[in-house]
């Protein structure tokens, strides 16, 4: 037990970050399963992070209500974003959602309430490891239950062929809206936990770099597998620490892994591990 306690004491920050990153990967995975390259997860995360931080700092809310309200707000933001982009596909959807993310970052950079470029500090660090992994477990169970519904089948059908999906009675617009909104909820939970486990947040925490990370986790793990995406996030969050001895070559190794997976295992780690197709 002492070994475990020592390990946790030495790596608690990394362990917490793995849980939060796994949530972020799950949030994007939902949209990718529907074939939507909607890249606004960092923005949803940021919205929720700021709202939960402001509620904690200015209104002295505790973690749970602040997190729930923040996730609700990020869900609404995702739903509002889903409306204007509902007719966009592929690269056009990606560009539009990235642009939205940049708008959110710039707004946070310029508002007084969000602390401008310096961000907010002094956020209560009450998102402990049990909170983070408890949330991850709840979200995972919810997604597992969701995967057993007919709506999950509709998501797969939309990814495969939107027109054929319409032909069997699937409301493609509803699928696209719902997947983005669910992704907004999960990213919001991750954002609130991030704010409450990092003491301070700045707009740079929620920019394109973060979004790029989340996408890479999903590609490495498997874009149609939530489990794969979460594993990809965990591995790539741990990897930089595990290869710290490589110093400046760490980014090179990260890039090489991505290249190898895309070239030789386009289904990601989930495809290798479980032989999963589609």
């Amino acid at each position: 037990m002492n070994v475990l306690a020592d390990f946790y004491a030495a790596h608690s920050k990394l362990i917490d970050q793995v849980g939060i990153d796994a949530l972020l990967a799950l949030s994007l995975s939902i949209s990718l399963q529907a074939g939507q390259l909607a890249l606004a997860q960092a923005a949803f995360m940021g919205v929720a992070a700021y709202i939960s931080a402001i509620l904690a700092l200015d209104a002295h809310w505790s973690l749970l209500p602040a997190m729930l309200v923040a996730a609700l707000c990020s869900t609404i933001v995702a739903g509002l974003l889903a409306l204007p982009v509902r007719r966009l596909r592929g690269i056009f959807l990606a560009i539009a959602t990235i642009a939205f993310g940049e708008i959110v970052r710039i707004v946070a950079n310029n508002l007084t309430i969000s602390g401008g470029a310096e961000g907010l500090s002094g956020i209560p660090a009450d998102a402990t490891t049990p909170w983070i992994y408890g949330t991850l477990v709840v979200v995972s169970i919810a997604l597992w239950l969701f995967s057993r519904t007919k709506f999950a089948l509709a998501i797969a059908l939309v990814r495969e062929d939107e027109n054929a999906a319409r032909g069997v009675g699937v409301d493609v617009g509803l699928v696209r809206f719902t997947t983005l909104a669910i992704g907004g909820t999960i990213a919001g939970l991750a954002g609130a936990l991030y704010a409450h486990s990092n003491f301070f947040i700045t707009p740079a925490d929620f920019g394109f770099g973060r979004m790029e990370q989340i996408l890479v986790w999903c590609v490495i793990g498997g874009i149609t597998s939530p489990l794969g995406a979460a594993i990809g996030a965990a591995l790539l969050t741990i990897l930089p620490e595990a290869i710290r001895f490589l110093a400046d070559y760490r980014d090179f190794v990260n890039g090489a892994i991505l290249l190898v997976v895309v070239l030789f295992a386009p289904q990601g780690l989930a495809g290798i591990r479980f032989g999963k197709r589609g």
Partner: protein, 239 residues
């Protein structure tokens, strides 16, 4: 008794091009209506208009007396119209069972393995394994799986867009039996097909389109003897 499909004066214009001009027809429950004509005559456009993929420029589509034109494609599918595609549009990365489940998406409840097997039997592909990947099946099996998927919706109307394309004569002969059995279950079938032997064997009535206009309607025997149809489509040696 299932509902009848009625097209009344359906017109489709793409800019200055008129793909369908005042087309009217009726698909009755338990009957097979053939839809033939040269390439570009507007046959697939008629199916796309009926299923809501293409908006109508004029006219009306009714199912069981209720107007369905103007409804979203998924609502029309839920109302009871299923279709297959000229170019097969199975969910190729998914397995046979998932494709059949997709077909039953609009129905209450979940498809079970026994029902899925019954659908395969109905489409003449009982040999298929439910966990086989749809995109890896032989071409003829994919065509029939598309029919099975359409039947999974328990439709009032089934629209088949060149279902025999790419099939050999034996498979085509079996397809006639399949289509007749589907109609015998009370479903109205609209069959687009170029193979006149299939049309004559499977259809109760035939509508002929040319340049978007209905130029003839009648029984298969009447159609093959119609001079206007012979000149526009069949030619003098095809019958």
């Amino acid at each position: 008794m299932k509902a009848a499909l009625e097209l009344d004066g359906v017109t489709i214009r793409y800019g200055g091009v008129q793909a369908l001009a005042n087309a009217s027809l009726e698909v009755a429950p338990g009957r097979v209506l053939g839809l033939i004509g040269p390439n570009g005559a507007g046959k697939t456009t008629l199916i796309n208009a009926t299923t809501g993929i293409v908006p109508l420029s004029a006219g009306r589509v009714r199912l069981g007396g209720a107007t369905i034109s103007g409804m979203a494609p998924h609502r029309i599918a839920r109302a009871g119209i299923s279709r297959t595609y000229q170019n097969i549009r199975l969910f190729g990365a998914l397995d046979v069972f998932a494709n059949l489940s997709a077909g039953a998406f609009a129905r209450p409840g979940r498809l079970d393995a026994a029902h899925a097997q019954a659908l395969l039997e109905r489409a003449g592909i009982r040999h298929l394994k439910l966990d086989a990947r749809a995109g890896a099946l032989p071409y003829g099996d994919q065509r029939r799986l598309e029919i099975a998927r359409a039947l999974a919706a328990e439709p009032a109307i089934l629209m088949l867009d060149e279902p025999a394309a790419g099939m050999n004569p034996t498979e085509t002969a079996h397809l006639v039996d399949t289509i007749r059995a589907i109609a015998a279950s009370g479903i109205g079938v609209l069959l687009i097909e170029h193979d006149m032997s299939l049309v004559r064997a499977a259809c109760d009535n035939v509508v002929v389109l040319n340049f978007g206009e209905v130029i003839a309607t009648g029984t298969p025997d009447e159609i093959v003897a119609d001079p206007a149809v012979i000149e526009a489509y069949l030619g003098t040696e095809s019958v």
